[in-house]
């Protein structure tokens, strides 16, 4: 039977999907969500929203005026039937809210206000979910009404953000509802959907007040799709024109911003309305300096520069919409129109903000000229330079003009009086400077920043900006020898006086260093500076530091130390380490602590040349070496005596050693020489300028007692262990060799004039020899050594002891 061959149908998913949507205006590809940045739904604009909320704040008391609450039964109109009465009541509720129960919430703090608005958002959703569409509409109308109130004007942009959120919710709810009614096959159903849609539009058209009518209709702009193909195209220009009726220029400009935003979302191809919005804005621009505004500002005690900045987010939005994918001639025309207006700094600022960076960069010199021409008392100049700087940070002006631009800009920036304004602006320009100039110019700028921010410790309020400066420098300067040869770089770092910030900056620096430093270095400037950085990082570690943070810091610090390399000049390398020990005792302390705490994490086996081998012997070697090092490490004043030694021993005790191994006891035995060395009056070795315990305690009997107690414990442990080994036949060999080790230690480090110790040594010798597993040659050599020792003054007891030690007979 022949197999049936399968031929798949060719699918065009995009167009198939498209065809089952109601009506969709043709849009050039990639054009659909062009200004995602300005739609409130995505992350970036959420951030922008947050910025606005954080920036436009007030401590004034706010009030919400709502005409809602219980619906009072109204006297029925004469001659109306039951049905029409209902409709009429609805309309009248919408129309004459003044007659409803009015509720004014006075004296709200900003946060309370925001919470209240959020509550309204929730009740809108609730009303919708419980099918109370009229109530939902009422909430939305009341909310948008708040947008015609400019009583606490500094808060207006934030209010706008909060309320348009509700409008967006509403628009979505209405659209989704109609969309859910929509059918692709049954026209009858679609008639119902259309009817519902029309109902909404009729209801909204009868809203009495201009501002709510405008906003609510804009919110459901998308629903026009259900009615006809040209709906949106006709509505946008109409709503644009409608805004001309709004007398307050701030209210009007935000209404335009909202309309542009909604327009971009729903019909990005309709550019004319966007442009018209901008041109209308220009036509009414003189309103900003009109009497009504002036009176209002006097009343609210708001200065003109502050007032003008309230416009920026909205004009940014509008211009961003206008400028999106706009051809240069249009942009040029827009710019020219702005130029023609007086008092145009505000517009100029938004132009620089919203237009393509390349466009602005190419005309940077022009812009500087225009900024200089602006009125001093108007829009803050540092914001203008800030916006210009932002463009120049991502697009390059003609090469020949760069230095002039920097000079001109900095001339103004350095004159900014408020440290906050200054650093906001300077921070932006650092990028341009780093991008095009050398360390000399950057250094100059750093010096200027230090000069501005040092008085009154102004830097304390500017950490984010200062951090950003460092970040920008590090983006462009990877060569640390250049970086640290900037005279003002380290002084700049000194401004980070808040611990958490300083550590973050240090981390950033070290990260960049480790990422870009390809070869080890011996440059003393780098070493010195980075040591400084590492020290800061290390010193930040405290009891509350999280493990992860500690790990990150130690990774960076050890990364640095690995990058230090003096080539064949071992002496230098050593002296670096010595310097390290010398100057960085506390670092060393931390390393040692880290080393100790890492012990339990040492794996039982490690891979050596591809073969897995038990790690025990390496670990033992390490611990012995470590003990040797610990001799010079003075006790930490905050911790107890022999803190580190005890630490190691505790770790050793808890470590899961190989079964059937004696490693733990070997460590105990190995600790004894250290302890013995520690009880000396003068230590075997020490590091110049580092005071070891010898100096610290000066042979204090208490200290010696501590050491002796510890030794006692250790010996006790070893002996207990030896006893357990003695119980089993096959372990006697191990018992023997361990006892000999201990014997060796006692011999070398113990004072055998002490009878008990002497007896112990003899017992150990005997234990070793009892089972006939001792190494005769070693025994003989040991005895010879002892005899030699006995020749020394004060070692006569050795001779006696030798007499008591018998060699195992070989018979």
């Amino acid at each position: 039977m022949a197999a049936v061959q399968w031929h798949p149908r060719e699918r065009r998913y995009t167009s198939e999907l498209q065809s089952c949507r109601p009506e969709c205006a043709p849009v050039e590809p990639g054009d659909y969500h062009p200004l995602k940045a300005i739609t409130v739904t995505d992350a970036k604009s959420r951030r922008r929203k947050g910025e606005i909320l954080a920036r436009f704040t007030t401590t004034e008391k706010l009030s919400i005026n709502l005409f809602m609450g219980t619906d009072k039964g109204k006297a029925p109109n004469p001659g109306s039937s039951a049905v029409s009465e209902k409709v009429r009541n609805r309309l009248e509720e919408l129309d004459n809210q003044e007659e409803g129960s009015q509720r004014e919430l006075l004296n709200l703090s900003q946060q309370e206000y925001a919470n209240r608005i959020e509550e309204l958002n929730q009740s809108l959703k609730e009303a919708w979910a419980t099918d109370q569409k009229v109530k939902a509409l009422k909430i939305v109308i009341q909310c948008s009404k708040l947008l015609s109130d400019t009583s606490v004007i500094q808060f207006y942009p934030s209010k706008f953000v909060l309320i348009t959120d509700i409008l967006d919710t509403f628009g979505r709810l209405v659209y989704d509802r109609i969309w859910s009614m929509y059918s692709f096959t049954a026209d009858e159903v679609n008639d119902t959907a259309k009817e519902t849609c029309l109902n909404w539009f009729f209801k909204i058209a009868s809203i009495r007040e201009l501002v709510p009518r405008l906003y609510v209709e804009a919110a459901i702009l998308k629903c026009n799709r259900f009615l006809n193909k040209t709906g949106i195209q006709e509505t946008l220009p109409r709503l644009t024109a409608m805004i001309r009726g709004i007398g307050d220029p701030l209210v009007a400009v935000y209404a335009r911003a909202y309309l542009c935003r909604v327009g971009m979302e729903v019909a990005p191809q309709l550019k004319d309305s966007l442009n018209q919005n901008f041109f209308d804005l220009l036509s009414a621009f003189r309103q900003l300096h009109g009497d009504s505004v002036q009176n209002q500002l006097v009343l609210q005690r708001v200065e003109i520069p502050e007032y003008l900045t309230l416009y920026s987010p909205a004009i940014h939005w509008i211009l961003q919409c206008v400028a999106y994918r706009a051809p240069d001639p249009l942009l040029t025309e827009m710019m020219e129109r702005c130029k023609k207006l007086g008092n145009n700094a505000l517009l100029l600022n938004s132009v620089m903000w919203a237009f393509k960076a390349e466009f602005v960069a190419a005309r940077a010199t022009d812009f500087i000229g225009m900024i200089k021409d602006c009125d001093e008392a108007g829009f803050p100049k540092h914001l203008l330079f800030g916006s210009l700087g932002r463009s120049l940070a991502c697009a390059d002006p003609p090469e020949a003009e760069r230095l002039t631009i920097l000079n001109e800009a900095w001339k103004v920036i350095t004159k900014i009086r408020s440290p906050q304004d200054y650093i906001h602006c300077a921070e932006i320009w650092v990028e341009f400077t780093c991008r095009h100039f050398t360390k000399r110019e950057v250094n100059t700028i750093l010096a200027d920043v230090i000069k501005h921010l040092t008085p009154d410790r102004a830097f304390e309020d500017a950490y984010p900006q200062l951090q950003s400066v460092i970040q920008k420098i590090l983006t462009y300067f990877h060569d640390f020898s250049v970086l640290f040869s900037m005279e003002r770089f380290l002084p700049f770092l000194d401004m980070f006086q808040k611990d958490s910030v300083r550590v973050e900056v240090c981390k950033t620096i070290m990260e960049v260093f480790l990422k870009h430093q390809a070869e080890p270095t011996r440059d003393p400037v780098i070493l010195n500076a980075l040591l400084h950085v590492c020290k800061a990082m290390h010193d930040s570690v405290n009891a509350l530091t999280l493990e992860d943070e500690k790990r990150a810091s130690s990774f960076l610090i050890s990364g640095f130390i690995r990058m230090v390399w003096f080539g064949r000049d071992f002496e230098q390398q050593l002296s670096f380490c010595v310097a390290l020990a010398n100057q960085c005792l506390s670092q060393a302390d931390a390393f040692f602590k880290a080393a100790v705490s890492l012990l339990p994490e040492v794996p039982r086996s490690i891979s050596v040349e591809g073969k897995s081998r038990p790690s025990e012997s390496f670990l033992l070697d390490f611990i012995s070496n470590f003990f040797a090092t610990l001799l010079v490490v003075p006790d930490h004043p905050e911790h107890g005596v022999l803190y580190l030694v005890r630490g190691v021993l505790n770790m050793v005790q808890d470590y899961t050693w190989e079964d059937n191994g004696d490693a733990k006891v070997k460590v105990y035995i190995a600790a004894l020489p250290l302890l013995a060395a520690m009880s000396q009056e003068t230590y075997l070795y020490s590091i110049p300028k580092v005071d070891s315990n010898e100096t610290l305690y000066g042979g204090d009997p208490k200290f010696l007692m501590e050491i002796n107690k510890l030794c006692e414990t250790l010996i006790g442990q070893v002996l207990d262990y030896l006893k357990t080994l003695g119980r089993e036949e096959q372990m006697v060999r191990r018992q023997g060799s361990l006892s000999f080790s201990l014997f060796g230690v006692l011999l070398a480090h113990g004072d055998l004039r002490n009878n008990r110790l002497n007896q112990l040594a003899v017992n150990l010798w005997n234990l070793n020899h009892k089972h006939g597993c001792s190494d005769t040659r070693t025994s003989v050599r040991t005895l010879e050594h002892m005899k030699q020792q006995a020749q020394q003054p004060g070692m006569a007891h050795m001779a006696d002891m030798v007499q008591r030690l018998t060699l195992q007979s070989r018979t």
């Binding site: 129309d95 009817e195 009495r208």
Partner: protein, 297 residues
Amino acid sequence: MSITLDIRLKRANKVYHEGEVLAGVVVLSSKEAVQHQGISLTMEGVVNLQLSSKSVGVFEAFYNSVKPIQLITSNIEVAKAGKIPGGKMEIPFEFPLSTKGNKVLYETYHGVFVNIQYMLRCDMKRSLLAKDLSRTFEFMVHCQPQKAKLVPAPVDFTVTPETLQNVQERSLLPRFLIRGHLNATSCVITEPLTGELTVENSQVAVKSIELQLVRVETCGCAEGYARDATEIQNIQIAEGDVCHGLSIPIYMVFPRLFTCPTLETTNFKVEFEVNVVIVLQDDHLITENFPLKLCRV
């Protein structure tokens, strides 16, 4: 034992014209079988006239004589007495919307003193012990499109203190000049009222500019008539101190039900007007009145 009656029309917008057939279904739904004495459906179109309280005194004799004018009525039996099985049942019906004699079906209109309404009523008669059930349902009638062609004739207006009538103390008025135009005063009811208005200058800032849509209803007969003008809606087109010299759009959608093509009969009249109302900051109120003629095309 609950039963619900419902009426559904074929057209979602419930709009019909004279000469068309009003078609739909009566929906009966109940959990169990229901006994009844017959179900009937009545279609009725009525003009209700009422006199305003201020007119009542003058026209008392006449007041009593204002009774509803019936435009159309028709009754059919949907089901004979019997038993309806449980579940949902749809009984289709049709009414031809044709009038007897020279009567005309006026367009649906909900006013204050004049109401033109078309209703469907479904009645279910039941035994003595159970209550009769009834359900009413309003449907809309739109009058036939007018044949006459509408040529839009723009109306220009200029408002200054000098153009105003009905002023008490002209010298106290602030100076202002407001210019504008309506694109037409003969309007298609389905199209918005449009135009433009510019505050060229004003000594006192503008507080608000509104469009007030007014209905003028006249009820009367040979003995006399009562004429009342009441507000239908008020639409604000400008708020606050608007920019001088910049034109502001005049735009108003005629609300459904509350407006109808201008109507003039022997017994009553329904006419519409629009007032452009300018409120100044010092609460001076300036009104410019425009009679409208609404029609349906």
